[in-house]
């Protein structure tokens, strides 16, 4: 059972864990080999299973993938908002602003949340507490991190509402969430997330729950706020169009792993991984009228029974021998491009089935971390 009054000071990872050297100072967020698993009744779900990526200061990165591929769990792990148990951060390091945050006690982590990194959620309709005014909630976020008077916190709330383009903020600030539309509430959420000038903004599907006409405005707002404050942006979405419009770099996730990274333009125009190719060709506008829509055959693998070898292999039109037994690691294919596919390895570097007997051990089971 999880707790709200948790044991402050307990870090989610085992003591004596060996961590690597810090990343260079221009790297704001460095996620290394992150594995977040959930222990549920039917077994263990490896929701995030070895994710690596870096985000430089002021950079924008899109994390793309189907539902259930682990995008949201990745972001919640970075925020340390995963409930432990049933969750467990099995392995990995998260470096944020020069500190390894997985080893921080929860009280320190709370100081980082909202102040240095903050999150914009998917559901603006339910993410605001119905019993308080929006001003109250923004002021609360300010007061959680700054030694300010109630008046100053309130003024900051008004200022933030104005910054996110809410008309007559002095009046809106006194309103309750139910009095605002979905688009307005998402603006309030953005105001709340940015009220302490965070260095990293994590936006988890910020436009998915919104009306199509509002989506573009909210994206535009997030982008302009990001540019104005110089914060880095991690945008999580399943919508390739959103990625194309908003971010510089993107990472594609499939079944708990990153399968391809690169600049948004490169990845979208010249996808390397068969999964990314499938995603792009399945956009309906790519098909002439009357033609059948392109789909990726099959379904996302059952999290309790991940396929052997490459996880995309059962659905991959280009799967060949090594894919069946070996999971390809990410490999730099071009400068700034990485893909996890044996097709992009020279034949000499592909494992042969002779090695199967020795190296095709089952999934790593060592536990680096304990709750």
């Amino acid at each position: 059972m999880t707790t709200i009054v948790d044991l402050d000071g307990v870090s989610p990872v085992a003591e004596g864990r060996v961590i690597g050297p810090p990343p260079p100072p221009d790297v704001l967020l460095d996620v290394r080999g992150l594995k977040t698993h959930f222990h549920v009744m039917d077994g263990t779900v490896a929701a995030v299973d070895g994710v690596d990526f870096q985000l430089k200061r002021g950079e924008t990165l899109g994390l793309v993938g189907e539902s259930g591929c682990g995008k949201s769990v990745t972001s919640l792990t970075i925020m340390r908002l995963i409930d432990i148990p049933p969750g467990e951060i099995v392995a990995g390091e998260i470096w944020f602003d020069g500190r390894e945050i997985l080893s921080l006690p929860m009280s320190d982590m709370r100081q980082i949340r909202g102040a240095d990194m903050s999150m914009i959620f998917q559901e603006p309709m339910t993410s605001l507490n119905p019993v308080f005014t929006v001003g109250n909630q923004i002021a609360e976020a300010v007061k959680a991190h700054r030694q300010v008077s109630n008046k100053e916190a309130w003024d900051r709330a008004v200022e933030m509402l104005e910054a996110v383009g809410i008309p007559s903020p002095e009046r809106r600030v006194k309103q309750y969430p139910h009095e605002l539309s979905g688009g307005m509430r998402q603006r309030v959420m953005i105001a709340m997330a940015l009220s302490c000038d965070p260095k990293l903004i994590i936006a988890d599907e910020p436009t998915t729950a919104l009306d199509v006409t509002i989506q573009a405005q909210i994206l535009e707002l997030i982008k302009s706020m990001q540019e104005r404050t110089g914060a880095a942006l991690l945008l999580i979405t399943h919508d390739l169009a959103v990625v194309a419009e908003t971010v510089q770099r993107m990472a594609v996730m499939y079944a708990g792993k990153i399968v391809e990274t690169g600049t948004a333009e490169d990845v979208l125009l010249n996808p390397k991984h068969p999964y990314t190719q499938g995603l792009i060709t399945s956009i309906p506008s790519n098909v002439a009228r009357g033609q059948r829509l392109n789909v990726i055959r099959g379904t996302v693998p059952n999290p309790f029974r991940m396929p052997r070898g490459c996880r995309f292999q059962p659905r991959c039109p280009m799967a060949f021998e090594p894919c069946l037994d070996f999971d390809p690691p990410l490999r730099t294919t071009d400068p700034g491009r990485r893909a996890a596919c044996w097709l992009h390895y020279p034949p000499s570097e592909r494992p042969t089935s002779r090695e199967v007997a020795t190296s095709a051990a089952p999934m790593q089971t060592e536990r680096v971390a304990k709750p």
């Binding site: 709200i4 949340r113 119905p130 539309s181």
Partner: protein, 317 residues
């Protein structure tokens, strides 16, 4: 909608110089009266006709219980009627008739009202205060604390009521009202505690609690400022219903002669005294106290029903 539209002033629109393309900005600007959740609930409650009737009846009963003894036709310790076997039927002198001893039933009911109401109200308040504290502690802490507190709750449900009243009588004296209030309160807080805990468990999974955590709000603040106010709606409803059931319970234990001392004028005692009289056809003796109990309980239940609809967070105005 949820807000009252006072004026429609289109020209007020388009003030801000904020970022992002205007979405609602270009809308017709309306002047809104902000209502918080409690004000909204009040509005919904005022639309509930049965609840309003219940409230009116209940207020009348409270009013009578306070000023009743002043305006009652007879002094409760007087025995105005003649001592007739089985009492006198209702007449102009004795509106609700008299009982065996010649006491005026109407006077008895009026004087008994405050006992029933006090037992119902105070026992429910005790149960509510303990229940909310224990329930939020269990729901917020989880783990071992939660388990321990919930087992204590199970225990309170296992204690037999009448036995506890007998034990309490040793300390407070036979037929003490304080003892009855304490026993009811101490046996029933578990009900509230379970409810509050359940509310906590579901509320802490809500998006707004996660959003509060994500901006670094402390756990204590999340518990008391974000979760507790949202959990109180159902608690208030259940407490109303509990109060009604405690009034019945008081009458019940008094009927069994476990309750308030039989010399006191209470509704339960009036019913208890009427045992056997029904067979003689002396209906007034039991009927009027019974009606008083039924009317009180029904009016409280209507209020509870109205509160349930008013405090339902999914309800729309």
């Amino acid at each position: 909608m949820t807000s009252r539209i006072d004026t429609v002033v289109g020209a007020e629109a388009g003030i801000p110089s904020g970022l992002g393309a205007p979405d609602e900005i270009s809308d017709v600007e309306v002047s809104l009266v902000s209502l918080n959740q409690w004000q909204l609930a009040l509005k919904r409650f005022l639309r509930h006709k049965m609840a309003l009737i219940g409230l009116a009846v209940f207020c009348t009963i409270i009013f009578i219980s306070i000023i009743g003894p002043i305006i009652a036709p007879y002094n409760p310790i007087d025995i105005p009627g003649a001592k007739v076997q089985g009492g006198d039927p209702p007449s102009m002198q004795h509106l609700f008739g008299t009982d065996d001893a010649g006491r005026d039933v109407y006077t008895n009911i009026i004087n008994g009202a405050h006992v029933s109401l006090a037992v119902g109200l105070f026992s429910t308040l005790i149960a509510g205060v303990i229940g909310v504290i224990v329930g939020s502690l269990a729901g917020a802490a989880g783990g071992f604390t939660d388990n321990l507190l919930m087992r204590i709750v199970d225990l309170t449900f296992a204690i037999p009521l009448l036995f506890l009243i007998l034990v309490a009588a040793v300390f407070f004296g036979q037929g003490s009202m304080v003892a009855l209030i304490l026993v009811f309160g101490l046996l029933q807080w578990g009900l509230i505690a379970r409810l509050v805990r359940a509310q906590f468990l579901s509320l802490r999974e809500t998006d707004f609690v996660e959003a509060a955590r994500a901006v670094g709000v402390s756990n204590l603040r999340i518990t008391f400022r974000h979760i507790l106010p949202n959990a109180l709606g159902p608690v208030i409803v259940v407490m109303t219903l509990l109060m009604a059931s405690n009034i019945v319970l008081e009458a019940f234990v008094s009927f069994l002669n476990f309750g308030i001392a039989p010399t006191e004028a209470t509704w339960g005692n009036a019913l208890s005294n009427s045992q056997g009289a029904m067979g003689d056809g002396n209906w007034w003796w039991a009927f009027f106290p019974g009606m008083a109990i039924a009317l009180t309980v029904i009016s409280i239940n209507f209020i509870g029903d109205g509160l349930h609809d008013a405090l339902d967070p999914r309800a729309r105005l």
